[in-house]
């Protein structure tokens, strides 16, 4: 029997989900849970929030599978739903916190001499980015999506994705002024 690609398998599962198969939904859920949980846990440390976003995503998958047009990949569609669900949820969470913008941050005094400090510093810088810019960067770097895939996932023109990526990198560059040195050392060590 010819081995199906992951893409074909996802399509078969979604067809079955559209026909009402709970078993297919379960398989799809288990297939995507790890990837989504790791992605979402970069934004929220609480697993309850991660679970809520994933389950909300798959509720929509269950209810909308019959409307999927197969113009894009199933994975792009599912991650797109997760993206919008996450954006909504994270904005709600952010309203409850007093996050500051990059412009309001004081001059950095941290010396990123160790890997952990630099990693923490980077994470702090990422946390300061506007949510759309952060998500674009995470979709590209953490998830490995292409420019066109991110445009499909976020339902934005390619130009918007390019602009978000540009501004995200620009702000990180301003926030992490000495990363050039840290990066060189890190790269030289083969990290």
């Amino acid at each position: 029997m010819a081995k199906h690609s992951a893409k074909e398998h996802d399509t078969e599962l979604l067809v079955a989900v559209a026909a009402g198969s709970r078993r297919a939904l379960e398989e799809l859920y288990l297939g995507y849970h790890r990837r989504l949980a790791r992605f979402l846990s970069r934004f929220t440390p609480r697993y309850e929030n991660v679970e809520e976003i994933i389950n909300d995503t798959f509720m929509i998958v269950w209810q909308s599978a019959k409307d999927f047009r197969y113009a894009s990949q199933v994975s792009t569609w599912i991650i797109g739903i997760a993206y919008r669900t996450a954006l909504k949820s994270l904005r709600r969470q952010k309203n409850h916190s007093s996050a500051r913008s990059l412009d309001e941050l004081p001059e950095q005094t941290i010396d990123p001499t160790g890997d952990t400090e630099v990693q923490d510093w980077l994470m702090h810088g990422l946390n300061q980015l506007p949510m759309e810019q952060r998500l674009t960067l995470e979709l590209a770097y953490h998830m490995g999506h292409s420019l066109e895939e991110i445009a499909a996932i976020t339902e934005c023109p390619v130009g918007t994705v390019k602009a978000r990526m540009f501004h995200a990198r620009e702000k990180l560059r301003m926030y992490l002024p000495s990363l050039g040195g840290a990066a060189s050392e890190w790269t030289a060590r083969g990290g």
């Binding site: 026909a19 790890r34 991660v50 994933i54 019959k66 980077l122 490995g144 990526m165 050039g180 790269t187």
Partner: protein, 235 residues
């Protein structure tokens, strides 16, 4: 603010815009060759590439955290059971998605409508009651997906056990102990070697706890509930 390599404004914005996709490997072949050719002669863009590769690798670094999706899936299933009452049951095998999606058109004499509506209401009420009961059961049965050892009570309703096994215990022995006690691992081991265990049958937790405590390979076992509803049968 120092202007260190790779942190200044891009000198070649068109190449700079391609670098993220070059770094994550999703760039097209033609553009990749263009970036390669440019990098060979531009030290500034090479610095920018180095910096961007560092950010990329930092963001793709594997974490040690693993999630167990089964409990989350159970909660999703319970939610789906809930909407099953409000929506027509999806098609089974042999029935197309189209027919499942569209409501069936029924022709019925109007004289029967009154009696039928009463019957439908009765069925709906019974389904609603059944659904509520299922939701209640699912919530009650669902074990917490995790809890920390520093918190004395589990996050969700449901009892769990924290246990530490002997360092010499083999995987087979551990599985045998868990099978005997009708328990399953929810999370762990932590750095301190603590496992969180949940029931996988209706066996009382006090009984499972007593069995664990009686086992030579179990160094420590306690319930996560601070005020157990029944006394433990400690050996």
């Amino acid at each position: 603010m120092k202007d260190l390599p790779g942190t200044g404004a891009p000198v070649h914005p068109d190449i700079s815009a391609l670098i993220p996709w070059y770094v994550n490997g999703s760039i097209g072949e033609r553009e990749r060759r263009r970036v390669d050719a440019h990098l060979a002669q531009c030290a500034h863009c090479r610095d920018e590439l180095t910096r961007e590769q560092w950010v990329y690798r930092s963001m793709t670094a594997e974490t040690a955290v693993e999630y167990m999706p089964s409990v989350s899936l159970n909660r999703l299933q319970a939610r789906l059971d809930g909407i099953g009452v409000a929506q027509p049951e999806p098609a089974e095998e042999g029935e197309s998605a189209d027919t499942a999606a569209k409501p069936r058109r029924l022709s019925m004499p109007w004289q029967g409508l009154m009696a039928a509506s009463v019957a439908v209401m009765a069925v709906a009420l019974s389904l609603l009651a059944a659904e509520r009961w299922q939701q209640y059961r699912a919530r009650a049965a669902a074990p917490p997906d995790y809890h920390t050892v520093t918190i004395s009570e589990p996050r969700a309703p449901g009892e769990a056990i924290r246990a530490v096994f002997s360092p010499t215990v083999t995987l087979g022995e551990l599985q045998s102990i868990l099978d005997e006690a009708q328990l399953r691992i929810v999370s762990g081991p932590t750095e301190a070697g603590v496992y969180s265990l949940a029931a996988k049958s209706r066996r009382p937790m006090s009984s499972s706890l007593a069995l664990l405590r009686s086992h030579a390979q179990v160094r420590f076992a306690e319930s996560t509930t601070s005020a157990p509803s029944e006394p433990f049968a400690t050996p």
